[in-house]
Amino acid sequence: MAAIELEGLTKDYGEVRANDGVTFAVERGEVFGYLGPNGAGKTTTIRTVLGLLSPTAGTIRLLGRDVTDEAQLLEAKRRLGYLPDDPAFDETATGREILDLHASLKGDERSAELLALFDPPLDREIREYSRGNVQKLGLVTTFMHDPDLVILDEPTGGLDPLLQQRFNEFVRAERNAEVTVFFSSHILSEVRKLCDRVGIIRDGRLVTVEPVESLLDRSGKFVRLHADEPIPIRSLEVDGVHGLESNGGAGPSDGAEYVFTFTGDINALLAAIREYRLVDLSIEEAPLEDVFMRFYGGDATDSPAATEQAAAGTDRGGSGDV
């Protein structure tokens, strides 16, 4: 039984179809990244899965339970942790009072350990909390009852880099403890560091669900080649070379440098350049941004302008989701 199963999930707001036939399953014990730019429909999927919105069409099972049946949804919620996009708590309460309420409603297995890790100022009222502190308190309330499944909507927004690091380590440890983690993000490096599989959503439609490695494989390698002497461009016209750029002849001692993305057979590439003397060669994974752009902004690797434009589009703040 999968932790989350979506079958043809559609949510129609009348003017906007925020989710359109979304189908995927999150397996138990995996970390699943739900990726898309702001407004793609990530939050709508999450809030429908949680029963906050009712689906226009499709079925949703959460930990094996049908979420449109309230009794079944309640069963699932006992083993669920959820951190919304922009969590909010009673402003006049202190952090401790919020934790007490949550403990009384869903139990408390491990808040002490979580408080040591995230440390929100418990004796202060929520109205005095910074966004980062609210997020820390939210992380504690999400995990305190030791849920089997955790749904996090843009979880690292508001956390400083040090805490983001701590959060990443924490999520890895949770996965090792067999906790299923589903989180949405528009930050690719975050997804790449944490996820086993990634689902990409664009304009309400699921574009692909793949293991992170296979996305990286498909995106190819980033190759930087530094040769003693200029290499004829002809020799580099191997299948799978994209966006070749060179700055040959910069100076006699510098030789010539070539940069390109490569999606073909690495042996063919090495065979083609065997006869040239190399100063240096590096083959790295392409940045996930490039992979991501394939689903949004055309072939980003061939068009730096498109990359820039699309990257700017994904870097906006996290409040515009539907």
Binding site: L50, L52, Y82, P87, F89, T92, L101
Partner: protein, 262 residues
Amino acid sequence: MFELTWYDGRRRVRGSIALSVGLSALAAMVIWVYPSFEAEVDLDQLLAAYPDPILQVMGVQTMTSLGGFLSFELYTFGWVIMLGLYLAYSTAGTIADDVDRGRMDVLLSMPLSRRRLVAERFAAIAVPILGANLLPPVVVVVGARLIDHPLAVADVLAVHVLSIPYLFACAGIGLLASVVFDRAAIAQRVALGVTFVLFLSESLLTGTDAETIGAIAPMRYYDPNAVLLEGRYDLAGAGILVAMTLAFLVASQLWFGRTDIH
């Protein structure tokens, strides 16, 4: 069960004490002015000077006894109008404000059904309703003795006890507004407006052909004059108010149970 009621209830204690003290001060003031009022003013003449609709709206029957005076100066004004409006307004803020400020997502991620959430939040309104009725009856009974116009203790208690289902019914109007509108400010304005219109419809239409319209107003079933002047306790009316409250609660639960939370 009742974890949320307990949490909400505790957060309402301070406000409810303030409410009780404020209403006690109002009660003390009304009782304090009564003797000089009675001595200096021809009360029947004063009554005759008011146009009938005003007397009808304020529920004035007589000023020539302390019971009649308190009935409109304190109970019609303080309880029927002010507290009724306050509870409708305050309750209208409960659910709508959670949705408005994005707290509902966190609340509903817990193993808590929507019906239970509505019922528990509503139950916590008992704190201001009971709180408002705690101190003032003592002030009224003692104050009346001090100015030598003693009132029947049973009548004073009854006027307060019978106000409890009335105030719950007003809160019920607020609750329904709170689930129908997901903006707290709108829910509160609607609840105030509806409660006030119901009050006017009941008080102005009484004795006219359109009197039946007032039957849906909670104010029809709570009459301080009947209690304080005639010692008549309208238990059937109280029963109707309880039924009304339950109807508002169930309607709110059904509505909130099937609505999308934005």
